[in-house]
Symmetry: D2
Subunit: 336 residues, 4 copies
């Protein structure tokens, strides 16, 4: 941590800041320049930078060390690969994970899974608790939904992925789900992250819609602090002034996360744009930008979906997108 | 709901849209203009506007009715007053609610409460679960903290206010807390809101940092759907490109909420700016803008606070602020 | 325009609104529903929606017609092609336009142009007025720069593109420049747009960093109102809370602009990310998302560039990117 | 400037960075810690931080010195007072500056000025070039408008304030206008700022709608670099996700600008909210927050204003607001 004093800071002020830092357990290196005094502070604790900035005579406080450690590239320079069944995520391929937004029935999921399996999709997705602003609408199938997900996936040799909405669901998720997703709204639910850091399934951490990449990696660190290092970052769009699409997919994220962190990164174009007619171009762009996976909402009858039909691809649209993704994957040398 | 068709929509397209709406249970009124055909759709269900906009030939879909009902001004034109003990919120006064960000010990809370009581503050605040990005820092006192809050408040004839972080805490909150706060990060945690709608304590609903006022009122509606209409809206800042302060307090919110809704609105300048040296001017501004209450973080030794000391007023700063608020309250004819 | 009255609007209020609309020259269609009265207003003038919303008893005012006309897809459903010399933009190809951020000298531009020409780049770009926050830094070569641009481009059979910073530069631009770019900061400089609408060169209109796509198309309309319909939209990033990159490139924009408008759209990944190490993945993504062109900043010695070197590709990086773009272009069936 | 190297940076990388900095003219102080090497660089030139961050082995580059100098508090710790006729801005008072958004006619301005003068408003405002997205609407009176402004103001002993839209208008503004306003859209029009820095009238610099306070002060620096130090900062709202109001007035800005800079700050609630029914509460809040002045749009017949009527107070609303402001001014000990 570096504390830059004001140009006109008095010696008393400087001494007071040094005292405060020593109290907080930091070792101090004082460097007196022609115009500024700069204090370097080294220690193991996280200090509240804002509190230090309020001390008299302080101009600016700058964190030198990264605010995340376990998620940082330096922690594992060669990169992390996540193993799900016989599938590897984070390794020269782009894993397609697809399914309905919310599981409605066994028949629904079977129709969809069949189409997905025909294109060699290896991860079947589907949520079972609906997070909706309508208190009287469809609320999801709960455990029954997870059981259906598991059985349909098994029938096709697929892994399962579902979004957890509450720590109390964890035992169920451990039984039925291979990849546990944390939604963007929960990205800073640190109590949930802590619970998840102690179990052994890989976790997909979705960037919150008004969060930065750094904040996302801080949450990833939290998720890893209990020993589970199987974390995948998911870019699913950030809120901007643009309203035509639900959110704006940040396609610099794959390259930025790849530089700052060793974790794989996947993209969710369906959630990002919220409109099925824009999913295809975003999915192609994400693949070309270098993501390690794509999450796609697919529905066999989107106009009659109980929820989020607007952002679900029809089976025909899914096939057409897969054709295009296959050509791009070959061009960018990623296995699909 | 109004569906505006494209200028060049074909009759087949129009008929298909009408059919779809009828299927969804809407009554339709078709109005054919010189350039556009416009469909009016009346029904009781919420439709997914985005899904309708994707139908062929549709240009735009506009919701006519308000997306919230119970929270709307029309539901109770005379305005809502919340009763807490013998205190009324939402009625020509500005209720100051103050205390430490997080309760650290009985001694701490007693020191602070004494100073507050000397200025006739009637609501004592303090959190017991710390929501922090540091997995190894102070995590709050939990139930012990609530018990301290209750006892210290009772000793001074004050009501209690604390932030709930999880539905599982509800029984404890019902026992110890008079005003239950929902933090901004939980504003769209609909499962929690639904739980809270079924209990009887008043709830302070904090606007999320990237939420609009309309979205806040939709959450308020959710909170009221179980029968508890004792809801207070809290403006505690929204995220903007400005980084000097943590968030930007939206001081048009009191007037806007007052027009759109019958619910009282309070402001939290401490959380909004995150720096104690800017709290005073925002608190004064909020009072002049017409809020029904102010939430203030106060600490007897902010430099040694276990958390969020940077945004806590010292006792001396609190007294000085109260002096200034008293003068402004008189000028704007609000009882403090 | 549709005016939705409040549920409890009185008849006097409705009549007053009708009178006001008639005064403003609108024809009115009144539709009295069970709960709401809705007024349809048809007329040729643009009305101030906010002013109408302030009338007593009005709940909401909704514009039915598009706020832009000439730029709307309906105006030219088959799409617009822009002709520059023998080059066509907006027609199954992705035109690469490249050069230094700012022209520094003839030698500089010649070095760069040679590399570009070797990859069949057909449009040479370079600015001559530097827009910088440093009042004492390099300010650009002005007319001398335009002359160099023209001559170097001619030597390689390339077209020229430069950004105009002021209407007074127009005569110079008409002499030397084939494609006139309007920067994002000038997107709402309506006086400049009006001047440009009266000349005959094609214009590249850059979306402002906090503008929506709709606002961009409104500016495009302005640019076309004088008769020059040769307009290209440029997505060059929007401001978000993310700070690692300068801006966030919105790669839903190609699909959205393609639906709403007949105008071609190009992307500028260099300006969007502001860091050369992220330009390549964004450029690939933009191509896969379907843009009609790419603007790339390339410098023969970026570490010694007088400005914006950080976002300029080196010659080697440019070649490597072109290799990758060529493969993706083949996969998405676009001529590069 | 401080350059923090990566933990695993090699010595060759460190030497390369040092060499680059020396080349750029910096003096270097190298500090080798247990984990990081940190380089302090002192020099007179502005370096491109992003370019340095791209060097191999660099983790982070932090600017130590303020990016603005002349506008910084340290430059004139006692604060700046601006003299306009016999009026002082920035000195324990809150100067009300009011008038129509755009001057429409002499009769209009006289009606309004009379009402303003009756409340001792000392600065008459009015624009003469309309910046509008409607190419066919009213465009402002130009020089004729400035002449009317001057004459009507003189008749009431008022000073004049108008917004300049182009450097070419400067001679006219020097003749007729006492306070020249730069609008938010022009805040980064550095060419215009440079022109204005060479003339002698005080300038009101409006913060851009997506600009930070720091960026505003950088523009203020630009405005002062030619010798004119008579600059007033104007907070007129920043763009946020909230859409009910046009922009969100940042009322931490008075306290923040007061700490960072010696320049006076005024607020423009009319432009910020864009709706006359919300202007009053924002104006009161701004006064309580400590602004040195208020800009108010007032119209004798807002429903018939040629433009921006929605955000203009009627004469009756203006009187009512002044009554309330007078009481608050007394409470906060500011002369109105």
């Amino acid at each position: 941590m570096i504390i830059v004093m004001e140009e006109n800071a008095t010696d008393d002020q400087i001494v007071a800041v040094v005292d405060r830092l020593v109290q907080l357990g930091f070792d101090i290196h004082r460097s007196t320049g022609a115009r500024y005094t700069i204090l370097g502070a080294v220690g193991s604790r996280l200090a509240d930078l804002r509190a230090l900035e309020l001390l008299e005579g302080v101009n600016k406080v700058v964190r030198v060390s990264s605010p995340y450690k376990l998620a940082a590239r330096a922690f594992r320079p060669e990169g992390t690969r996540i193993q799900v069944q016989d599938l590897t995520i984070g390794q020269g391929c782009c894993v397609v994970m697809a399914g309905p937004g919310t599981i409605e029935s066994r028949a629904q999921l079977e129709s969809i899974a069949e189409a997905l399996a025909s294109r060699k999709v290896r991860v079947l997705t589907g949520n079972v608790t609906r997070i909706s602003s309508d208190p009287f609408g469809f609320q999801g199938l709960g455990e029954e939904g997870l059981r259906i997900l598991r059985e349909v996936a098994d029938a096709h040799g697929m892994a399962t992925l579902s979004e957890i909405s509450d720590a109390s669901q964890l035992p169920l998720f451990e039984r039925y789900v291979d990849l546990i997703r944390v939604g963007g709204r929960q990205m800073k639910n640190f109590a949930l992250l802590k619970e998840l850091s102690r179990q052994s399934k890989p976790v997909i951490l979705t960037r919150g819609e008004s969060s930065t990449i750094e904040e996302t990696l801080i949450s990833a660190d939290y998720l890893m602090c209990g020993g589970n290092h199987q974390v995948i970052v998911c870019e699913s769009g950030i809120r901007t002034f643009e309203t035509y699409t639900r959110l704006t997919l940040d396609l610099a994220a794959p390259a930025v996360v790849g530089k700052l962190s060793h974790l794989p990164i996947v993209a969710d174009p369906s959630q990002a744009c919220g409109r099925r007619d824009k999913v295809s171009s975003l999915a192609r762009a994400a693949l070309a930008a270098g993501v390690d996976g794509l999450l796609l909402e697919v529905h066999h009858d989107p106009d009659r979906a109980l929820c989020d039909g607007a952002q679900s691809l029809s089976i025909a649209q899914f096939h057409s997108l897969m054709d295009r993704l296959e050509r791009i994957a070959a061009a960018v040398e990623k296995a699909l």
